[in-house]
């Protein structure tokens, strides 16, 4: 796929999302109020309206006016998979911090990311997993007295 087509699709996607928000999201999530001069949904509608219109214009621009017709789209499946893995690791760390505690979540995320980055020596992984969370915990919880989860 070329960059031009990819960006046209992105523009169309943005317009569709904005349309969905305009028709369904704003009525569902913005509480109406008849006793104000400016309705509460005006600013969200202005923003969503512009986003949708600009998305459509971007789509048309890329389809008909974009001079670059050969550059490839920046789609790299491997990077996307790796990004999802890192995001899942962060989501697990957040869950651990909220349910078990900061240090457990911290040890998990720094250790897991060190392995993810390619470190295979157990002592280096252990050092990276333990030191940063303990140092941050010590700095905030012990030194500054700011409680962490």
């Amino acid at each position: 796929m070329t960059l031009r087509i990819f960006e046209a699709l992105v523009g169309a996607g943005v317009t569709l999302l904005a349309l969905g928000l305009w028709l369904w999201g704003i009525p569902a999530w913005v509480e109406p109020n008849d006793f104000v001069t400016v309705a509460p949904d005006l600013m969200p509608r202005v923003a969503v309206g512009f986003i949708g219109t600009l998305g459509a214009l971007m789509c048309l621009h890329r389809l008909f006016l974009e001079p670059d017709r050969t550059s490839p789209a920046p789609i790299d499946p491997k990077s996307m998979v790796l990004t999802v893995i890192v995001l899942v690791l962060f989501a697990i760390a957040v869950t651990l911090m909220l349910t078990v505690g900061y240090i457990v979540g911290g040890v998990f995320i720094t250790g897991a990311l060190t392995i993810f980055m390619g470190q295979r020596k157990w002592w280096a992984i252990a050092l990276m997993a333990i030191c940063p969370p303990l140092m941050l915990w010590g700095f905030f919880e012990v030194l500054l007295g700011i409680p962490l989860p």
């Binding site: 913005v30 001069t37 923003a47 214009l57 001079p67 990004t83 890192v86 995320i109 969370p133």
Partner: protein, 501 residues
């Protein structure tokens, strides 16, 4: 006047503020030196910490990080040809060839001295201009303020990034997310999804950490996975003249430094055009003015001076629109505006009259930070050169954890999932090349935009003719329309002339 200066320095010269300035400059230089990180990342993470400081200490800390970051960015640009910060990219053009010639230390010293000189000059312009500008701005009504915000948004959208559409979409996404919370007039809920934590809106610190810091960490983790640690060139050869920067060499580049400082200050005072643009424009101006333009790019020390003076002078000038109008000049200023708000201070035309003492104390802190930047930069060059080589597998997991910690500190348990969510948004924006600069500025300006819009509607009472009674606002709206039309025209013209592009 003298009394104001003495009071400002006595407010800034407290132990806490001095420690924070030194820590801020050090953190800024350290983050700036590491490729992939920048002062912006450090500021985003540091905003939550400032909640526990005094307002003067908090602002001094953030400004110091910003100043230190511009100096730190030159270290990896010169020694590794990998700019630590985007604005240091032009520094590498001449800095790295100098390092190859064994003159890395000389180039680093020139970067430091020109950076601090440019920054100091820009700070003095800020001190001189912000109060008179605020006096003019104070006479502006909501309609004029609305027109200024619209104008600022059009300038930002037209100048940031390669695509105007993407810049504007990102700005309006920022404006949309700024409406989360309670409606300012009637108090009804908007996009809070039954979560009381969202009633006050999305916290700027969580949005900043997610979009700016954590998204960048995410990107770097994926990009640098499995990469071996980079090594850099030696700091200098054994020859003494390669290690030192003489007064004559500095004086020889003074004209270039002053020119670049003027360019950087002018650019910094306009919203949205950041340090990177200033650095490249300053560099090009130095080439045009040089008697030997062909030496640029091959190790001309004037090239280093030109870029560093230009990108550093943006730092102070960025505060001119922030302090006078409440409009942040760039993302760093937007985050610092967030810190103002955390401390219950609203930047804008009334700031100088209502919080004059705080503003002048911040000015004093900026002067002290410049001195600290010089001293710490001079004696810490080797430390920051070492930091530039820090392995990615140590730096980025740690910064990822610091991001989560920072999110918790300001927004509690609610901040943790929020920051991960905004990291996804920030990552997608980077991957699809949507400008996070316009997004953050749109988000920060959103509440002021809505407030002035509502006030204008109420004052106009639905009559469009009201605008004709506000000639200044009308003129600024006209300028905004002209900027937008010009940008659209430029895009269409660009599309019609593919062979020239």
């Amino acid at each position: 006047m003298l009394e104001t200066v003495i009071t400002a320095f006595s407010d800034a010269l407290t132990i806490q503020t001095l420690v924070l300035i030194v820590a801020g400059v050090f953190i800024g230089q350290f983050f700036g030196a590491i490729p992939g990180l920048s002062a912006l990342t450090a500021i985003a993470i540091a905003v939550p910490l400032t909640y526990y400081f005094t307002p003067v200490g908090a602002l001094a800390f953030l400004v110091s990080i910003n100043k230190g970051g511009t100096v730190g960015g030159s270290v990896s640009a010169i020694l590794m040809n990998t700019p630590g910060t985007p604005e240091a990219a032009a520094t590498a053009f001449d800095g790295h060839p100098l390092a190859k010639q064994g003159k890395g230390l000389k180039a680093l010293k020139m970067a430091l001295f020109s950076s601090v000189t440019g920054d100091t000059l820009s700070d003095f312009v800020l001190f001189a201009v912000s109060a008179p500008l605020a006096l003019i701005a104070i006479k502006m009504g909501p309609t004029e303020m609305l027109s200024v915000i619209v104008f600022a948004l059009t300038i930002i959208a037209s100048l940031v990034g390669r695509s105007m559409f993407k810049g504007l979409i990102a700005a309006f996404l920022g404006l949309l997310l700024a409406t989360v919370g309670l409606d300012p007039e009637g108090g009804t809920s908007r996009f809070i999804f039954g979560m009381p934590d969202l009633m006050d809106g999305l916290p700027i610190s969580a949005v900043g950490i997610g979009v700016l810091a954590m998204a960048e960490v995410l990107r770097q983790l994926v990009m640098l996975r499995g990469a071996a640690g980079d090594s850099h060139l030696p700091l200098s050869s054994e020859r003494p003249e390669d290690k030192r920067l003489s007064w004559a060499e500095y004086r020889g580049t003074l004209r270039t430094i002053l020119r670049s400082a003027a360019i950087g200050t002018g650019i910094g005072a306009l919203p949205g055009i950041g340090s990177s643009a200033a650095a490249f424009i300053g560099y090009n101006a130095a080439i045009r003015a040089s008697k030997d333009p062909k030496s640029f790019g091959k190790g001309n020390i004037e090239g280093v001076a030109a870029t560093e003076a230009a990108n550093s002078s943006v730092v102070g000038a960025n505060f001119i629109p922030l302090l006078a109008l409440g409009i942040p000049g760039n993302v760093a200023a937007a985050l610092i505006l967030g810190a103002f708000i955390v401390h219950g201070i609203q930047p804008g035309p009334h700031l100088m009259t209502e919080q004059g003492r705080l503003v002048y104390a911040m000015f004093a802190a900026m002067v002290i930070a410049n001195g600290t930047n010089l001293i710490l930069g001079y004696f810490g060059l080797r430390v920051f050169a070492f930091a530039a080589r820090a392995p990615a597998m140590v730096v980025f997991p740690t910064i990822g954890l610091v991001c989560l910690t920072g999110a918790f500190l300001t927004s509690g348990t609610f901040g943790l999932p929020l920051v991960v969510g905004f990291a996804v948004i920030g990552y997608l924006m980077r991957a699809l090349e949507f400008s996070f600069v316009t997004f953050i500025i749109g988000f920060v300006l959103g509440p002021s935009f809505e407030l002035s819009f509502r006030q204008t509607v109420i004052l106009a009472d639905g009559e469009i003719g009201y605008l004709f009674d506000r000639p200044i606002a009308l003129a600024i709206f006209g300028l905004a329309a002209f900027t937008l039309a010009r940008t659209v025209w430029r895009h269409v013209a660009h599309a019609r002339k593919p062979e020239e592009t």
